[in-house]
């Protein structure tokens, strides 16, 4: 058995006809996450079916994160929050209230452990694979099913092995790698697959970088995206107080595995995804000069400390020429940038700082666009109508490229700016 995803899934199987890719298995789930958009439907299902009484933290650990409407923008969202708070109190679930941050950051801050099987009612649940876990997005009804039974059906994914070699050049980061992979794969290149990374190039991807890459593999249809357990995983876990388990060392791929794709990180240049979908990837250089109204740095893709630090370094002492919205992915990150003085740099540069949460990425509040406006965003999706009217355009890019757009007011290759900063 080569596939790391399969290795993890196999340890959780309670019933299986076969463990071949495409086969159907029932597996025991370690953790389930719901948010404030999809969670209320799961709660409705539990109530309607009378299965709420079956929900028990001994079956599965459940987390409810109020991140999409953080804080709520209307009565319905506020009422959904009331419902979720009450449910978590009654059933021993963990609640992350508004302002705590995005589920996909909060859960990797010491909750997700390598080797676990985790589901969440959000497609970007796939992010946790950066910690050598099997994580995948599900719907609300099945989250209800998981909460009531602790189990769920899975189709065994086909592995797609990606070997990484080389090192990034200055001004190029993991977001550019994620976009490169999406450009190569297209919307279905990884459909139902587990994308599994290996190779010496992993050394230049810290955990924050890996989270970004795992996060976006869902845009190519992936079921899960897994990074092996290594010293970097261990460093990250230790920094959140998680004691490493010896068994986790086995969570890696054989070095002689045949790769489906090989990527030399040193060949990657700053990339940008243009509407109408994330896989429409271009070189930043090809779109230079496009006028930008708003820049957003945040989201479960790139709202981490490292991303905000990149922005602050380029922006220091300058004024943003666009509206600039910065939303840290968790309260922990907000505190850190406050204590380290990064927040002041951003505020001086004219940034609008939002409460930790999903912000405008989800298109409901806190910075949606108007007709024909253009946003450069570090988030993950740019479908028409995603963050404003269908005529508005969202370009997806790295924090470097986002910073360059904020500084110049246009889509700009960030590399010359790095040399001057």
């Amino acid at each position: 058995m080569n596939s790391l995803a399969l290795k993890i899934l196999a340890k959780h199987v309670v019933e299986a006809e076969t463990l071949e890719p495409g086969g159907l298995v029932y597996a025991k789930v370690d953790k389930v996450m719901v948010n404030d958009v999809t969670g209320p439907i799961a709660l409705n299902v539990l109530k309607e079916t009378d299965a709420e009484k079956l929900v028990n933290e001994r079956k599965v650990k459940a987390y409810a994160v109020l991140d999409h409407y953080s804080p709520p923008h209307n009565w319905d969202a506020a009422n959904a929050h009331i419902k979720l708070r009450k449910f978590t109190r009654q059933h021993g679930c963990v609640l992350f209230d508004v302002g705590s941050g995005i589920a996909h950051q909060l859960l990797v801050e010491g909750i997700v452990k390598p080797g676990e099987l985790i589901v969440g009612t959000d497609s970007h649940t796939i992010t946790y694979g950066a910690l050598a876990a099997f994580a995948t997005g599900i719907g609300s009804s099945e989250a209800a099913y998981v909460m009531a039974t602790g189990e769920l059906w899975f189709k065994v994914p086909e592995p797609l092995y990606v070997r990484l070699i080389g090192k990034f050049k200055p001004g190029v980061v993991s977001k550019d790698l994620a976009l490169y992979l999406l450009g190569e794969m297209g919307t279905e290149g990884a459909l139902y697959c587990s994308v599994e990374f290996f190779g010496e190039g992993l050394k230049s991807l810290d955990l924050s970088d890996r989270l970004t890459v795992a996060n976006m593999m869902v845009e190519a249809g992936a079921k899960t995206a897994v990074f092996p357990y290594d010293s970097e995983t261990e460093r990250w876990l230790l920094s959140y107080g998680v004691k490493p388990d010896k068994k986790w060392k086995e969570l890696k791929l054989e070095p002689n595995i045949e790769a489906n794709m090989e990527v030399d990180l040193s060949n990657i240049e700053p990339l940008i995804s243009e509407p109408p979908m994330p896989t429409r990837v271009r070189h930043v250089a090809d779109l230079e000069g496009t006028l930008v109204d708003q820049v957003f740095v945040g989201s479960c893709t790139n709202g981490r400390y490292k991303d905000i630090l990149i922005l602050a370094r380029l922006l220091k002492g300058k004024k943003a020429k666009t509206r600039l919205i910065v939303i840290p992915a968790s309260i922990r990150i907000l505190k850190r940038i406050a204590y380290e003085g990064i927040l002041s740099i951003l505020i001086e540069a004219g940034a609008i700082i939002g409460m930790p949460g999903c912000g405008p990425c989800f298109g409901a509040h806190m910075g949606v666009l108007g007709n024909y406006e253009v946003m450069v965003s570090t988030a993950n999706r740019n479908f028409p109508g995603r963050a404003g009217p269908p005529s508005a355009k969202v370009y997806l890019a790295s924090p470097y490229t986002a910073a360059a757009a904020a500084i110049t007011g246009t889509i700009t290759d960030p590399r010359p700016l790095i040399k001057n900063s």
Binding site: I41, T187, R381
Partner: protein
């Protein structure tokens, strides 16, 4: 299990933001979601409104791309969509459809026009469309068909809940 509907042709990569935009997700009742289905894609919405019901959506590849929102399936069902046939589906949408009792079939339907009557036999993997065109597809695993037949996952949750009560 046999399902029929009148064909509504859509293209590739119909994403869940297109099916139901995020700005409507703070409510989850079917009437509300059905009203706003395909609101940002008027060319689809207008056809959907004008065709006889129920509707069989005939799509290209990658139907249900993007977000995990189950609202997308609720919205389609509320708009009287009874069946979706696509060359391929994105996986969370596919699961949500089955879990809500909305039949989804992976097949490549050619030569079907808007408004053609489409009828599918889910167990035997046969689709009849328009002027006697016949298409075959691989039936989904029995376990999943069981979920569909019972109208979705709720049936099984109800059963589990009543069994628990009997103990």
């Amino acid at each position: 299990m046999r399902v029929k509907g009148y064909a509504l042709l859509v293209g590739d990569n119909i994403d869940t933001d297109t099916i139901i935009p995020a700005r409507y997700l703070h409510k989850s009742n079917p009437e509300w979601l059905g009203k706003h289905v395909f609101e940002d894609a008027p060319e689809i919405k207008n056809k959907l409104l004008s065709l006889p019901k129920p509707i069989a959506i005939i799509a290209g590849k990658g139907f249900g791309y993007g977000s995990s929102r189950e609202h997308a399936v609720i919205a389609l069902k509320a708009a009287e969509v009874s069946l979706i046939i696509a060359r391929s589906f994105h996986r969370i949408f596919y699961r949500n459809a089955i879990n809500n009792g909305l039949p989804v079939i992976e097949a490549n339907l050619t030569e079907v026009k808007n408004g053609d009557l489409v009828e599918a036999d889910l167990e035997n993997g046969i689709i009849l469309a328009g002027n006697n065109a016949v298409f075959k597809f691989k039936p989904m695993p029995k376990r999943l068909l069981e979920i569909l037949k019972h109208g979705g996952l709720k049936y099984f949750l109800k059963k589990l809940a009543s069994e628990e009560l009997g103990k």
